[in-house]
């Protein structure tokens, strides 16, 4: 069935007006970041940001933590989702439920709850880094579960598994050499979204006292308005890059949820 297209003026009006709403802040930010006090254009704000050692430190920290969160999330979700698909379909709704439950607990509440439960104690759980990674792992679950689940649905899990087992593979080998390579596309989609989300995350990192990229942006922006604008453009470029790569891979599901706003 073909789509009946609405001719006329209204669709264009809507598109132009919303495009204005979305483009104007970007233009304004770019202009603000490039403006020179006496008039004219300069890249000074960008140079100041890129020369700042804390910029690189915080960025590196956030990238590493985001990657760690993705790995933790995958190590938890892949085995559970795989086994549910293969042997215990009854468990699938439970795994799904636990994976989307983070929606009910906003990031600020999550970190508050984790600090309240473990923060006062001793041992590894009371370490801020453990609490940070744990929070980010929880935040990553919905995205990773959705992409892993979609990936598993699109392949014949039992047949692949039986084939591999009958050729003498152990379970570790099945997961590592058979299931994961087939999941690659689906995994990349979810992982990129999580990376984009956690790299600029502010609430959890600041509560736990880390100098993450988000925290660095806020501290810098409070003192230097032009650098704030430059950082906003850089952050926008990074998200654009990650989502662009995701789209290029063509398998991403780019809808988001409560996440780390």
């Amino acid at each position: 069935m073909s789509v009946r297209r609405t001719s006329g003026f209204t669709p264009w009006l809507i598109v132009v007006l919303t495009a204005l709403y979305f483009v104007v802040p970007l233009v304004a930010t770019a202009q603000f970041s490039l403006a020179e006090p006496g008039g004219g254009v300069s890249l000074q704000a960008y140079a100041a940001v890129l020369r700042d050692a804390s910029f690189w430190h915080s960025l590196r920290f956030s990238v590493l933590v985001a990657l760690a969160a993705v790995l933790i999330g995958l190590a938890l979700v892949v085995p559970a989702a795989y086994w549910a698909h293969l042997r215990v379909p009854r468990m699938r709704p439970w795994v799904e439920l636990f994976s989307i439950l983070p929606f009910v607990v906003p990031p600020i509440v999550l970190v508050f709850g984790i600090v309240r439960l473990y923060g006062g104690g001793v041992g590894p759980m009371a370490s801020p880094l453990v609490m940070l990674l744990a929070s980010y792992g929880v935040i990553a679950l919905p995205y990773l579960f959705r992409s892993v689940d979609n990936g598993l649905r699109s392949m014949d899990v039992p047949r692949l598994t039986e084939a591999a087992l009958s050729l003498g593979a152990g379970w570790g080998m099945v997961l590592w050499r058979v299931i994961l390579p087939n999941l690659r596309g689906a995994l990349l989609g979810g992982s990129f979204l999580v990376l984009a989300l956690i790299m600029g995350e502010y609430a959890i990192a600041s509560m736990l006292g880390f100098n993450s990229f988000g925290v660095y942006m806020l501290l810098t922006g409070e003192n230097a308005a032009q650098q704030a604008a430059a950082l906003a453009m850089i952050a926008f470029g990074m998200v654009w890059l990650l989502i662009g790569l995701l789209q290029l891979l063509g398998r991403g599901d780019i809808s988001a949820n409560a996440g780390a706003r």
Partner: protein, 299 residues
């Protein structure tokens, strides 16, 4: 002998090892696969949430509702009101604008290239939130923002006329920057599905209005509701955008919770617990609504 038997067995019944283990130890074996995931969720999601509930209902001498009753004090009640209002307003506005935009691109005579651009941009913009978004809007509509200065040149002084980016209206304008694209991403598949029926309706002689009233809206009703609930949740949980924009000077529940804790120190635990439990209760309501909507969509 024993070894030989096993080898024969392995040839005849290729994956008997796994099958045997499965038969005799199904529970133990499944546990290994699910345990890390469930233990992690329990330790870092369920228990912390349960801890908050416990902390907000346990007094020195047994259970108490004293802490939760604190939420009825004007300051906290107003924080919930503004948080809910902000999320509801941005969910409805973002929902309406998002649907219109999605409809314009799906059903209007707009070049195809535009459609994929819109979807990619929506993916970017819905993830462009928090601190950098607040900076972008400050550059635009702050006291010396580009648009503010531009309007001033035409004699419209926003800040003299009572507008401020750092209050409720400013937050609404800023939140819409991620709410509208989120709506576009969530609703475009459903809209495409719905417009496919418009041709059929037209062939049967339905007017555009009749199509929307009898076909389009009934198909879209639940997806629209579900998407708006998600938008509400995304606005309600937002912290960084509001904090960066107002320097924490706005009475919203996430901001209040943030104020209760610096580093590992929590100032007044019972109050923080109560505030957090309030948020979980609201989000749980949204979540249940979503589940009902999803069930309705499937049926």
């Amino acid at each position: 002998m024993q070894q030989g038997m096993e080898r024969v067995d392995a040839v005849l019944v290729p994956y008997s090892g796994a099958a045997l283990r499965h038969r005799f130890l199904p529970l133990a074996e499944s546990a290994i696969w699910f345990a890390p995931f469930l233990a992690f969720s329990l330790a870092f999601l369920v228990l912390p949430a349960a801890g908050l509930v416990a902390g907000s209902t346990e007094g020195l001498h047994g259970p108490t509702l004293r802490y939760l009753a604190q939420l009825l004090q004007p300051q906290y009640l107003m924080a919930y009101e503004s948080s809910i209002e902000l999320s509801a307003v941005t969910a409805v506005l973002g929902g309406i604008v998002g649907v219109l935009l999605s409809w314009a691109v799906v059903a209007g005579r707009i070049p195809r290239l535009f459609r994929s651009t819109l979807l990619t941009f929506s993916g970017v913009a819905s993830n462009f939130a928090g601190v950098p978004l607040a900076f972008a809007f400050t550059s635009t509509l702050g006291p010396v923002g580009m648009v503010t200065l531009l309007l001033a040149r035409f004699g419209l002084n926003l800040y003299r006329d009572g507008f401020t980016l750092f209050g409720f209206a400013g937050l609404v304008l800023t939140y819409l920057y991620f709410q509208i694209p989120l709506m576009v991403l969530l609703i475009t598949p459903a809209l495409e599905h719905a417009t496919r029926w418009s041709e059929a309706a037209a062939n049967l002689g339905a007017s555009t209005a009749a199509y929307w009233w009898h076909v389009g809206l009934p198909i879209l009703r639940l997806p629209l509701l579900g998407a708006m609930l998600l938008l509400f949740g995304s606005g309600f949980g937002a912290y960084a955008t509001a904090y960066a924009l107002t320097s924490g000077m706005i009475n919203l529940v996430p901001i209040l919770i943030g104020q209760e804790m610096i580093g590992n120190v929590v100032y007044s635990p019972a109050l923080g617990d109560a505030l957090a439990v309030g948020m979980i209760v609201v989000m749980a309501g949204v979540f249940l609504g979503l589940r009902l909507v999803q069930r309705g969509t499937r049926a």
